[in-house]
């Protein structure tokens, strides 16, 4: 019985660039979830996450080159594109990012976001400076190694380590102070 071989990300990327729709679909289905979650977690906005996910793959369709295997895994490459797109949008739309209110009441994603936005951890993450927030999301939520995160952010591994250290330190302070407030004051803010 022939063995089924799962194509690598690199194979799928190459197939996609040759116009193979099956390769594109497989690559998309493998990566849309992680990329959507990255953008959602770092921004708090499902609309921005949707845009970023689409734009990452549109960028892949437009470019004939761009991925260099010697610079890291496809995961780092895709997260790097998503990071740049999300960062540009977060900085441009500061204070105007829509949350889940645009979606209908029966949208499970909107429900999830509404519920989680009241969570102290997400509030704490979204309150971090963006360069710390990106590293905390990449390493602690997306599960990238220091090396993968460094490739996505185009910085040194040491920079990732120090940003993660400081980001978590700030997050810890925020969580501790929120938890020691009287209940009425500890209600998380819904706007940034």
């Amino acid at each position: 019985m022939p063995e089924t071989v799962t194509p690598s990300d690199h194979d799928l990327l190459r197939g996609m660039r040759d116009g193979d729709e099956a390769a594109f679909t497989a690559l998309y289905r493998r990566w849309q979830g992680p990329l959507f979650r990255y953008a959602l977690r770092v921004s708090g906005s499902p609309a921005l996450a949707e845009d970023v996910t689409q734009e990452v793959f549109m960028a892949l369709l437009r470019r004939n080159e761009g991925y260099d295997p010697s610079r890291g895994e496809v995961s780092s490459y895709l997260h790097g594109i998503a990071r740049n797109l999300a960062r540009r949008r977060i900085e441009r739309e500061r204070g105007h990012l829509p949350l889940a209110d645009e979606a209908g009441p029966d949208d499970p994603l909107a429900d999830l976001v509404r519920r989680e936005r009241t969570d102290l951890v997400w509030e704490g993450i979204l309150g971090l400076p963006l360069h710390y927030r990106e590293v905390v999301v990449l390493c602690d939520l997306q599960g990238l190694s220091y090396e993968e995160a460094a490739a996505a952010l185009a910085c040194a591994v040491g920079t990732v380590r120090s940003r993660l250290h400081r980001g978590r330190e700030q997050l810890g302070v925020r969580l501790r102070s929120a938890r020691t407030l009287p209940a009425a004051e500890a209600v998380p803010r819904m706007t940034r």
Binding site: E55, V121, V136, L141
Partner: protein, 215 residues
């Protein structure tokens, strides 16, 4: 191990990754002997625990199916892509909400289109190609909304056929020129002031589907 060395390792220790067995044993031994570092480790473990719980709760979030559909259409229709790799000029869904907030400033008029009647809906269905800013469906809907056949509306939705909607409204709005960049249009010169007028096609669900600037 000194407290300073412990501080260098405490994040890796709490995350349970990236630290070799020997370093881990040494760091744990230090925490057992040092109350301050033990408390520091507990704090980091609490952060790790909170982050992991949050990651698990949001692990099922995925892009809506319309994104894949739009991308596959774009793959089949490479004409809709920019050859130079530059970003397509497409207003963002997030930016549209900013636009609608600005619309509250000046609401000049509303035209309501009756649901699924008239020749607008009798024609063969047209598909909105992703990456193609204008489309037959948008223009037809614009005509149906009474804003003229020559309207250059830009689609704001991914591959949605406006003729599937029960009703449409055209809302005239005015917004600061500086807001154009946030909507995904080529960034306006920051020195430019004043406002621009636009018309937005809004579905019965209140979501904007297309826009055109009228000056």
């Amino acid at each position: 191990m000194s407290c300073e060395d412990f501080e260098d390792d405490v994040v890796d220790l709490a995350r349970g990754e990236e630290l070799g067995p020997a370093e881990r044993t040494e760091a744990l031994a230090h925490a057992e002997a040092c109350l301050r570092c033990a408390a520091r480790l507990e704090d980091e473990r609490a952060v790790t625990s909170g982050l992991r719980a949050f990651a698990a709760r949001t692990a099922a979030a995925e892009a809506p199916a319309r994104v894949e559909a739009a991308l596959r259409r774009a793959l089949r229709d490479p004409e809709g892509l920019d050859a130079d790799g530059s970003a397509a000029v497409r207003p963002s869904r997030a930016g549209v909400l900013l636009l609608l907030a600005a619309a509250a400033a000046i609401l000049a008029g509303i035209v309501v289109v009756p649901p699924r009647v008239g020749p607008l809906y009798d024609r063969a269905p047209a598909v909105l190609p992703a990456g193609s800013p204008t489309s037959a469906a948008v223009q037809e809907a614009a005509v149906g909304a009474g804003v003229g056949e020559n309207s250059e509306f830009v689609s704001l939705s991914y591959g949605e056929d406006l003729r599937d909607l029960d009703s449409l409204q055209v809302v005239s709005v005015e917004l600061p020129r500086t807001a154009l960049g946030a909507l995904g249009w080529p960034a306006a010169d920051s020195a430019q002031t004043g406002s621009v007028k636009a018309e937005v096609i809004v579905g019965h669900d209140g979501v904007a589907r297309a826009i055109r600037f009228v000056d």
